[in-house]
């Protein structure tokens, strides 16, 4: 069953001669327990597609449904709540809160309301343990290694148990070995917790580890094939 459904979704920026069509009439489903690798050159529309799925942008045309709910026309508050409760983001370069420890970076989502703090603390400790971060849980984010930061980012994305994970270049700043460990951790979490995941990547070796590969060029899906 599809968790994320995009139907003829388009997104353009600017107008007139300056208009850029970043995403054009994209239709895409991502099922529960599935990791979809989104591959394409710079400027092909990968990140815009991710931002649309995460309600960071609203589509110019088309419809987006998550868990059966149409999020296309959500207002600002609904989009904020949607991002808080139903989506887990892993950004390029991890994007930790620099003055917080690894554990506090996970717990930060509890500050935004709508959650039982003590349950979140238990969950944070559980995720830190699963992602092999217990030893660094009290280290400030800036003192963590690149791989540790990305794993903390994955853990943070899973804190509210979202049904959809949106991951943007998770291995961009890591070497192959570290990158592989991060992707392994991500795949393990998605499969074991039955999430849907879109992972934007430039790295074909990482993309090949996903369940499906979607290639995008000039805002359009060029190919969509399952991976062995």
């Amino acid at each position: 069953m599809a968790i994320l459904e995009l139907r003829d979704v388009s997104r353009s920026f600017g107008s007139g001669a300056r208009r850029v069509d970043a995403v054009r009439e994209v239709t895409l489903d991502v099922d529960r327990g599935e990791v979809v690798a989104l591959e394409g050159p710079s400027g092909s529309g990968k990140t815009t597609l991710l931002a649309l799925a995460g309600a960071l942008l609203t589509p110019t045309a088309g419809a987006i449904r998550v868990d059966g709910d149409d999020i296309t026309n959500y207002g600002a508050r609904s989009r904020t709540r949607y991002r808080r409760d139903r989506v887990g983001f892993v950004f390029q370069g991890s994007n930790m809160v620099p003055f917080l420890t690894a554990r506090e970076n996970l717990l930060v989502v509890g500050h935004f309301g709508g959650a039982d703090r003590s349950a979140l603390r238990r969950r944070a400790d559980e995720l830190l343990d699963q992602l092999d971060l217990t030893a660094v849980r009290n280290q400030v984010a800036t003192s963590l290694s690149g791989g540790e930061r990305q794993r903390v980012a994955i853990a943070r994305a899973l804190m509210r148990d979202p049904s959809l994970l949106l991951v943007d270049e998770p291995t961009a700043s890591l070497n192959f070995e570290l990158g592989s460990r991060v992707v392994d951790a991500l795949l393990s979490e998605v499969h074991s917790r039955d999430k849907a995941c879109i992972m934007v990547t430039h790295d074909d070796r990482m993309a090949q580890r996903a369940d499906r590969l979607v290639e995008i060029r000039d805002g359009r899906i060029l190919a969509d094939r399952p991976l062995p």
């Binding site: 960071l56 950004f91 809160v97 917080l100």
Partner: protein, 363 residues
């Protein structure tokens, strides 16, 4: 609380801003204290008189120095139905030698002994004779005069000995420590030559209601506060001090605002990330304002401590007319906190307008 954690972890950055806030608050407290001190020196003795209204000579332009009331003027004022009690008082400045080669000026105020216009003593006894004098604590601090000692006051080309019988806490008048003598003795001090030209009083101190603006042929009544405000130089002095305070608050608001705006600009990408992972804009604005509030409150508390330290050390002598009251310190501190929060509203606007899309490094 994210705001508190950030302050705790970024001590240097926030410590620096807190120091700047403390200096601004200190400046404003000092200016306020100076204003109060100047007011105190200008005429607390007038404000502390036990009455609500004052009658001045009609042609005095509400100047205590120029006001001269005749016996008839005083009698007319005392006869007013709305005046529950009325007592004539006199003022004259006198240079008093309190030690060989050492003298200072005092404000000699004539009162009727035993009347409501005579101030209460904090040490010694009240006036009972024409050679008794009450001196203010301010004079005691300057000259060290004690109860029982004598002071020589000029009468014409001679001097006359007055015995200090009590000490009062009335403050200053025209920047001179106040002293109180029998009104009859005051008349001798201001003797103008012809006995027929001798004034009965400078003012009439009145207890009563609805007397503001009441006039007679040779006199007019104003509230005691109006009388104080019309002391020569008080209004200009107060305006200057107020202008300095408001400028200080304005500059403080701008400086604090700019500091927090710069801090906010440095955090734009972080704010974008927090918004992207579900932080409501309102939550982040509240966190930002909370930081401003914490920094300003700590800065204001430091400033109060610094001002008290200054008062106890540098300003322990009477050479600078500065006065710190709890009310003035609280008002100045709260003003700085409010100015800081108002100044940082631009940052709050910036926080609210951050687009979470920047978390994905695109716009």
């Amino acid at each position: 609380m994210l705001a508190l954690i950030e302050i705790r972890r970024r001590k240097l950055q926030f410590g620096f801003v807190t120091g700047v806030v403390a200096l601004i608050a200190y400046l404003i407290i000092m200016v306020t204290g100076l204003g109060l001190g100047l007011n105190e020196a200008a005429g607390t003795a007038l404000l502390r008189l036990n009455g609500d209204h004052l009658a001045y000579a009609a042609n005095s332009n509400l100047s205590v120095i120029r006001s001269r009331l005749s016996d008839q003027d005083v009698a007319e004022v005392q006869a007013l139905a709305a005046a529950e009690r009325a007592a004539p008082i006199g003022y004259v400045a006198a240079v008093i030698e309190f030690a060989p080669e050492e003298s200072d000026t005092a404000a000699i105020i004539g009162v009727i002994p035993g009347s409501f216009s005579e101030p209460s003593v904090v040490e010694g006894r009240s006036l009972s004779g024409p050679s008794d004098i009450l001196i203010d604590r301010a004079w005691v601090r300057v000259a060290g005069t004690r109860v029982g000692e004598t002071l020589a006051l000029p009468v014409g080309f001679e001097t006359r000995e007055f015995t200090v019988v009590g000490i009062v806490d009335q403050g200053y008048f025209f920047f001179q420590p106040a002293m109180f003598v029998d009104l009859a003795s005051w008349k001798d001090l201001v003797f103008l030559g012809d006995a027929g030209q001798q004034p009965a009083a400078s003012l009439v101190l009145i207890q009563g209601r609805d007397l503001d603006g009441v006039r007679g042929e040779g006199w007019r009544i104003v509230t005691k506060q109006d009388g104080f405000n019309n002391i020569e130089g008080v209004r200009a002095q107060q305006s200057t001090v107020d202008a300095l305070r408001y400028m200080g608050l304005l500059i403080g608001a701008m400086v604090i605002g700019v500091f927090f705006y710069v801090i906010t600009l440095q955090k734009v990408s972080l704010l974008g990330i927090l918004k992207a992972i579900g932080a409501p804009g309102g939550y982040l604005v509240v966190q930002g304002l909370l930081q401003v509030l914490i920094v300003c409150v700590i800065g204001a508390v430091l400033a109060v401590g610094l001002a008290l330290l200054t008062e106890a050390t540098v300003l322990s002598s009477d050479t600078i007319p500065i006065d710190f009251t709890a009310n003035a310190m609280a008002t100045s501190s709260i003003s700085v906190v409010i100015a800081g929060v108002v100044g940082s509203l631009l940052s709050a606007r910036q926080v609210a307008s951050v687009d979470p899309i920047i978390a994905m490094q695109q716009q």
